[in-house]
């Protein structure tokens, strides 16, 4: 339709130039007739109405994105890095500072400890040192080792996820921790087997009468006791059970770093004031990894 209407006037002009043109000038009248005899173009150079529309991008905001940080379309006086940044839209989550999950990390402000902090650890417990400890201490120590293992495994995972290489620092520390745990387990199984063997041996011991639950031990030679032994908390039904309990409470009294010396004292002086010793030792005990100025060399307990 548009085509037909646009064609018609142009065709009309071509076909009837004399009718449309003003023939004021006689020369132009002549040129009309002269033109009719030469070659004429059958099309007009005037573009169609459809072609005469404004060729523009109707999308005024094409490419503008705050998500992809395209920057403004219009020219600005400022550099791109000076453009204002969007405000924080992330919700601030309040965290309980005493949450149990903090136990998986070394520090609350850092994901990972620094290599210098990782290197600060001692050596694993030796089996000999662990043999001095009673059940409660070993039980608690095992759990402490478990927690340390958790922290180390978290650190290893974070280390790996951040793409750091060379995990030897963490792995060596993990190794020491595992060795301690293995030795705790070894000491406990050894103690159990020892108890079983001792019970079997006690059957053939002339000084011990296992049938007598109140007083199984009748020593052949009596020594003069230096002091009155306070009765330890032993409500065991069988003598052997009470024996193990008391032995462990005796071992428990040797908690401090100078365990060897106290062990010697404990064995020589009997159970005198052992409860008082336990309490004072627990109060005065220093953490084993704290750096001390005077290194205390442990004396091996003299065994009779």
């Amino acid at each position: 339709m548009a085509m037909a209407s646009s064609i018609r006037p142009s065709i009309g002009r071509i076909l009837n130039p004399a009718a449309t043109q003003h023939t004021a000038n006689p020369f132009s009248f002549l040129t009309i007739f002269t033109r009719a005899t030469t070659q004429t173009c059958s099309f007009s150079t005037t573009p169609e109405l459809n072609e005469r529309r404004p060729r523009r991008d109707n999308n005024r905001l094409r490419g503008l994105s705050s998500l992809y940080r395209s920057g403004p379309r219009a020219r600005t006086n400022i550099e791109p890095h000076e453009l204002p940044k969007p405000s924080s839209y992330k919700k601030k989550i309040e965290v309980d500072p005493n949450h149990g999950l903090w136990g998986f990390f070394y520090a609350k402000d850092k994901l990972l400890p620094t290599p210098d902090e990782i290197k600060e650890y001692g050596r694993a417990w030796s089996a000999e040192e662990l043999r001095q400890k009673g059940w409660e201490d070993l039980h608690s120590l095992w759990w402490v080792c478990c927690k340390e293992q958790n922290r180390l495994l978290t650190a290893i995972r974070v280390w790996k996820s951040l793409g750091f290489q060379r995990r030897e620092l963490l792995q060596d520390r993990m190794y020491e921790n595992k060795i301690t745990m293995k030795r705790i387990r070894h000491v406990l199984t050894e103690r159990f087997y020892l108890w079983e063997d001792a019970r079997a041996l006690a059957v053939s011991d002339p000084e011990i009468n296992l049938a007598d639950t109140t007083r199984p031990y009748n020593p052949s030679v009596y020594y003069e006791e230096q002091s009155e032994e306070p009765v330890a908390e032993s409500s065991g039904t069988s003598a052997e059970q009470s024996a193990t309990e008391d032995q462990e409470s005796a071992a428990e009294g040797q908690k401090s770093v100078t365990e060897g010396q106290q062990g010697a004292e404990g064995q020589q002086a009997g159970a005198e004031g052992q409860q008082e010793v336990e309490k004072s030792a627990a109060e005065k005990v220093e953490p084993s990894t704290s750096p001390t100025d005077t290194p205390e060399i442990q004396q091996p307990p003299p065994r009779i």
Binding site: W143, C145, N177, M181, Y193, L194, S234, S288, I297
Partner: protein
């Protein structure tokens, strides 16, 4: 990113997991046996085999750490006169007699 493509026939070559096969295939998860089955399809739990983790009390006040300071050398215990050293039952018995026998 594309979703994982389905395996189709390649699945036949993979190893069976606990989730495969409607019945007839059992694959454990290394947790161990905690009781026994009944012939009616039930299960009787043997509580002596079930693990219970006891948290020691006063763990936050516990002073010992997993490591010992390197300034203290490891010393060997002296077990003179005992045939098996720390593993000899005579040692255990002697110590019991000394510390505990007269209670």
């Amino acid at each position: 990113m594309q979703p994982t493509q389905a395996l189709f026939k390649a699945f036949r070559k993979t190893r069976l997991t606990t989730k495969d096969v409607n019945k007839g295939f059992y694959k454990g998860t290394r947790t161990g046996r905690m009781g026994q089955h009944t012939k009616y399809g039930g299960y009787i739990v043997d509580w002596s085999r079930v693990r219970t983790f006891v948290v020691p009390p006063n763990l936050d006040k516990f002073k010992l750490t997993p490591y010992v300071t390197r300034q203290i050398q490891q010393t060997k215990g002296q077990y003179d006169g005992y045939r098996m050293g720390p593993k000899s039952p005579e040692l255990y018995l002697d110590r019991w007699k000394r510390e505990n026998g007269m209670d």
